[in-house]
């Protein structure tokens, strides 16, 4: 028990420490941005200070949060759908050679198909509301998650599968106690990639097909050549993304992977 306590304590400390590192690295990035901003002038690249001011203005005018929430909702729905379907299909393809052979080329098609190929269909099916960006995000994230889940399932050691067989693990327990912990190390990087992709794609999709959300706001600032406004929206999106990753996904990942050996063992 005491042991366990010490263990969690040190895990938490190392997490906080890594948080500082991340912030340091972001500040470095801001410094580079500031320099580039000074060089190019504010029409082409406004510096971080100006951008943050603009962000503050957006917030004060009450524009920021509603649009961000709309986009977040869309990104989240699309992402969740992709996580569920991608993990499920990927695992299926990992289990069964036939499923893998049949599904892989389709996933490649989805992955490589430029959105314009089906944007019209999506707009016809789903209209101009939430559904089109959600669908776009779904399509963009699905193959990423799929590939991770399939490879994870495929690479589970046959020796551990034999253990599950011999001890008669029921299917659900086989999933939760054997496959998922192993999968985690494949699926988490895929999830993090999918998370980032979802935000990027939702913005691009809104830019093309929507009248609200961050993407639509970006389209306006862009049309009006309001570069600092554009960057302010981008910064808002990135902040939301970093927050999701470091406050949500990363702790889950650390918890799930706590059994891994530390460096010097």
């Amino acid at each position: 028990m005491f042991n366990y306590f010490l263990r969690s304590l040190s895990a938490t400390l190392s997490y906080l420490w890594s948080g500082w590192g991340a912030i340091a690295s972001l500040l470095l990035f801001c410094a580079a941005w500031e320099l580039a901003g000074l060089y190019y002038g504010s029409l082409i690249l406004p510096g971080p200070v100006e951008t943050l001011k603009q962000l503050g203005t957006l917030f004060d005018q009450g524009e920021l949060l509603p649009e961000l929430l709309i986009s977040a909702r869309r990104a989240l729905y699309g992402l969740l759908l992709a996580l569920a379907a991608g993990t499920f299909l990927g695992m299926l393809a990992g289990f069964s050679v036939t499923a893998s052979i049949l599904s892989r080329p389709l996933v490649t098609l989805f992955l490589g198909m430029p959105p314009i190929a089906w944007l019209v269909l999506a707009m016809l099916w789903f209209g101009l509301g939430d559904a089109t960006p959600v669908f776009t995000v779904f399509i963009a994230c699905l193959p990423i998650v799929f590939a991770g889940a399939m490879q994870g399932t495929r690479t589970l050691d046959n020796q551990l599968k034999a253990v599950a067989d011999v001890y008669g693990l029921p299917p659900l327990m086989r999933l939760t106690d054997v496959y998922l912990p192993h999968l985690a190390s494949y699926v988490f990087p895929a999830w993090i990639t999918a998370l980032g992709t979802s935000w990027k794609v939702v913005v691009m999709a809104e830019l093309l097909s929507s009248s609200d959300g961050v993407g639509a706001a970006l389209a306006v600032t862009r049309a009006q050549l309001d570069t600092s406004g554009t960057l302010a929206w981008v910064v808002a999106v990135l902040a939301a993304l970093l927050a999701t990753e470091y406050l949500l996904l990363e702790p889950i990942k650390r918890h799930v992977e706590r059994w891994r050996q530390e460096e010097n063992a």
């Binding site: 551990l160 034999a162 067989d165 029921p170 912990p181 059994w259």
Partner: protein, 265 residues
């Protein structure tokens, strides 16, 4: 308890095109302990896996009437993401026994195998080699199987522990009427624990001879065990199987593998 009998008849097995088991026939009745001995690579583990239902044999007949079986593999095969305690309790979890109960039973059994409470909170990579194999043994014993398959269960343990665990195993077998098939490299161990010893030869793996041990277990003292082992070691077929008289097998003295084509009856 009804008398069940495990039966293997004229069984062959190939990995790809290489034959590793040739015309194996054996039978074990409930409550009996069968020891498989033979040189490294003669197919003992393969035979065990076939009996456990993990491999499908190429030809021949297998009758395995026992319902609950447990298998301890040659390497520990612990789930790296579960603590020792959870690894031991795996089989009980598969049988939907409540968390509290399965942990209690696991802790009790682990104590008998010399594992302390502290050890049980460790992840497999934090355990010593001998501890890992004891965890694997406990995992197999805890489900009180009708048929217990053991692949060199004691090879990573010291003399003191071995002696204790011999007693533990005998007690378990007598209390539960467990049928045991065990692989061992230690003739004295086989003599001490088995009701019958099966000597195998390699290339392809086949049965050379069977030595029944008629002596009741209660009467097997160290002296008898040592004497019987030495006698066994004098047997020509045993010396031949283990190649104790120099390199190369004198093929004339040795039972030849069966040539086979088509399906055996």
């Amino acid at each position: 308890m009804s008398m069940k009998q495990l039966k293997v008849d004229n069984l062959f097995h190939k990995y790809g095109i290489v034959e590793v088991l040739n015309n194996i026939s054996l039978s074990v009745s409930s409550g009996q302990t069968l020891a498989l001995v033979g040189p490294s690579g003669c197919g003992k583990s393969t035979l065990l896996h076939i009996i456990a239902g993990l491999l499908t044999h190429s030809e021949g007949h297998l009758e395995q009437p026992f319902e609950q079986l447990a298998c301890m593999f040659q390497s520990p095969r612990l789930l790296p993401w579960k603590t020792a305690l959870d690894n031991i309790a795996l089989g009980l979890k598969a049988r939907k026994i409540s968390r509290l109960e399965r942990q209690q039973r696991a802790i009790e059994l682990a104590g008998q195998l010399g594992l302390t409470r502290d050890d049980l909170d460790k992840y497999p990579h934090e355990l010593s080699g001998g501890m890992q194999s004891r965890v694997a043994l406990a995992r197999a014993l805890l489900v009180s199987p009708e048929l217990l398959l053991l692949d060199e269960p004691f090879s990573a343990l010291d003399i003191g522990l071995k002696l204790e665990l011999y007693q533990l195993l005998r007690r378990h077998v007598e209390e539960h009427g467990t049928t045991v098939i065990m692989i061992t490299h230690d003739l004295m161990e086989a003599v001490r624990l088995a009701d019958s010893i099966l000597m195998m030869a390699p290339e392809p793996g086949r049965i050379l001879a069977e030595f029944p041990m008629a002596q009741p277990h209660a009467l097997r003292d160290d002296n008898w065990i040592y004497r019987t082992s030495v006698e066994l070691m004098q047997q020509p077929l045993v010396r031949l199987g283990f190649q104790l008289d120099g390199v190369g097998i004198n093929h004339e003295d040795m039972p030849q593998p069966v040539a086979h084509g088509g399906c055996a009856p």
